[in-house]
């Protein structure tokens, strides 16, 4: 879009609201989604020239409705009259706008969809990114992404999921799906945000923006706040995470003056408020760990005993072996590499063949001064990683030790 940052932000904010209203009125999510995209396109071309209308949401609703009506008109005259009548309803209030965005999010992140479909659909319908932008971010051709989005919409249609806010009883699991999809979008951008794939940071930015929206709508939900805090506290380290040539810089070697203090401050404030409300969840725990790292001005100031305790809680809550792997790092920092290595043995079966297990082993052996073993494990990890920057990091680490 060339509409300028102000208009672009406004359109992204309004897109899911307009989609929500149209989908509810016309009962056809697929058609409504197409109509909204056309309305957004019209706005992006006309607003920079004509100026932003006084009621931008109304403008988009009207334009989107007109596009939908064009379709309906050619199909069924009677339905057209009914819809026109519906369009004369009074505009919805602020609470309604929020409900609409949330309802669209719930629909896009429906458990009936695979994570990849949910991600694509969310970015398109709620994120307001064009198919080309999403395809670019995931490094696939536009036609491939278009197919994926259209399949996701078909699946929703076929599963006959009604377009409405979920019942109170299904609220919690559905919100969890939404948060998980937002987490995955952020991770996708963050995990590959070095070197040649730098443009994918768009995904992290979009995940933050969407999580902010959800947090605004559900300010009392501490896990929503926890997830937003986690994203901000992680994203704050972005510019220190990669060297000038895109090489990965681990946490203990980062230039901490490059960390974004403003994001850290905002993340910590959010987290503190969330924790004070009780009901600690896994996103808050991850955010709390990120905050402890961010709070340490120097690497030697890191509060490892506290991080170790938090990983213990997170491990009990999730049972995720990758969390145990992280706890082993904290164990090694608090009690020494021998204890860390001992804990890793419990992961051999559950993380068999996973390169991070080898990478951490290599690290512990290096800490213990056992350089030959360290090189062996770094090399094994480099052979199994799925990420280019990580492979380079691990190979360089092994080479550095061998050069002695």
């Amino acid at each position: 879009m060339t509409a300028g940052p102000h208009i672009e932000g406004l359109l992204r904010e309004l897109a899911p609201q307009v989609l929500g209203v149209l989908a509810r009125r016309f009962g056809d999510f697929d058609a409504a989604e197409d109509a909204v995209q056309e309305a957004l396109l019209a706005a992006a071309t006309r607003w920079p020239v004509d100026g932003v209308p006084d009621n931008p949401r109304g403008w988009l609703l009207q334009t989107g409705s007109r596009k939908l009506l064009d379709q309906v008109r050619s199909e069924q005259a009677r339905r057209r009259r009914e819809t026109l009548a519906a369009l004369r309803e009074a505009p919805a209030g602020a609470a309604q706008e929020h409900d609409d965005t949330l309802t669209v999010l719930f629909l896009c992140c429906h458990p009936a969809l695979t994570p990849a479909s949910a991600i694509a659909l969310t970015l398109r319908a709620v994120g307001g990114l064009s198919t080309a932008e999403i395809a670019n971010a995931f490094l696939v051709p536009e036609a491939t992404m278009a197919q994926r989005i259209s399949r996701a919409k078909q699946r929703i249609k076929a599963s006959r999921v009604p377009f409405r806010a979920p019942e109170r009883s299904e609220w919690a699991p559905r919100l969890r799906s939404v948060l998980h999809v937002l987490y995955l979008i952020f991770n996708e951008g963050y995990a590959s945000s070095t070197g040649a794939e730098l443009h994918r940071t768009e995904l992290s930015g979009e995940a933050i923006r969407l999580t902010r929206t959800v947090n605004r709508m559900l300010p009392d939900d501490s896990e929503v706040a926890g997830l937003l805090a986690l994203m901000l506290l992680t994203d704050a380290r972005r510019s220190a995470r990669a060297g000038p040539d895109g090489q990965l810089i681990p946490l203990d070697e980062q230039d901490r003056t490059l960390w974004d203090r403003r994001l850290i401050g905002e993340g910590i404030a959010l987290l503190d408020a969330a924790v004070a409300r009780g009901a600690v969840g896994e996103y808050q725990l991850q955010a709390a760990i990120a905050a402890l790292h961010d709070r340490a001005g120097r690497v030697q100031d890191t509060d490892w005993p506290q991080i170790l305790a938090l990983y213990g809680l997170l491990e009990r809550m999730t049972g995720n072996p990758v969390v145990t792997l992280n706890r082993a790092i904290a164990v090694a920092m608090v009690h020494g590499p021998a204890d860390g290595l001992k804990l890793l043995e419990t992961l051999d079966a559950r993380l068999a063949g996973h390169y991070r297990l080898d990478a951490v082993r290599g690290h512990f052996h290096e800490m213990a001064g056992e350089f030959a073993a360290a090189v062996r494990h770094y090399t094994a990890a480099a052979a199994r990683t799925t990420s280019g920057p990580e492979q380079r990091y691990l190979t360089t680490r092994a080479a550095r030790l061998q050069a002695g």
Binding site: P115, P141, A143, N187, E188, P250, N326, R356
Partner: protein, 137 residues
């Protein structure tokens, strides 16, 4: 999602008869199978790209140091090991990549018998797994 490269070479599978000796209808059935499979993968939003390569007779090798590059015909390795074609798919899991590779391997030959051509499955470098969950690395 992860991308996988599916590689087919000139190893014949269970059918030794070269394609020039198949019945025209068998060649058509073979090609139609590929077309249908590619359409299926396009429709599912999984196919990123795919190409069949020209025959090894047209292959060149280039080596270059400080001076002018040297271009030769070749390589003259065993014909069967030469790359014949590839597809790139973007899929949810390695299991799905293997499932697709099995469909490629099953392409019919003479008499409609599956060729059982070996398909190599290689994961493309991409995002790191669990990046957000392992802040210390």
């Amino acid at each position: 999602m992860a991308k996988y490269l599916l590689i087919v070479d000139y190893r014949p599978g269970v059918v030794e008869t070269p394609m020039e000796q198949w019945a025209p209808a068998e060649i058509k059935a073979h090609m139609d199978y590929y077309t249908a499979l590619n359409q299926e993968l396009t429709d599912s939003g999984e196919l990123v790209d795919g190409y069949a390569l020209t025959r090894p007779e047209l292959a060149k090798e280039v080596t270059a140091g400080a001076g002018a590059p040297v271009v030769t015909d070749g390589p003259f390795v065993e014909f069967k090991e030469m790359l014949a074609g590839f597809q790139v798919v973007d899929v949810e899991s390695q299991e799905r990549a293997i499932e697709i590779a099995a469909l490629v391997s099953r392409v019919p030959g003479p008499g409609g018998v599956p060729l059982e051509q070996p398909i190599s499955v290689r994961r493309v470098m991409g995002a790191s797994d669990f990046a957000l969950l392992t802040p210390e690395l």
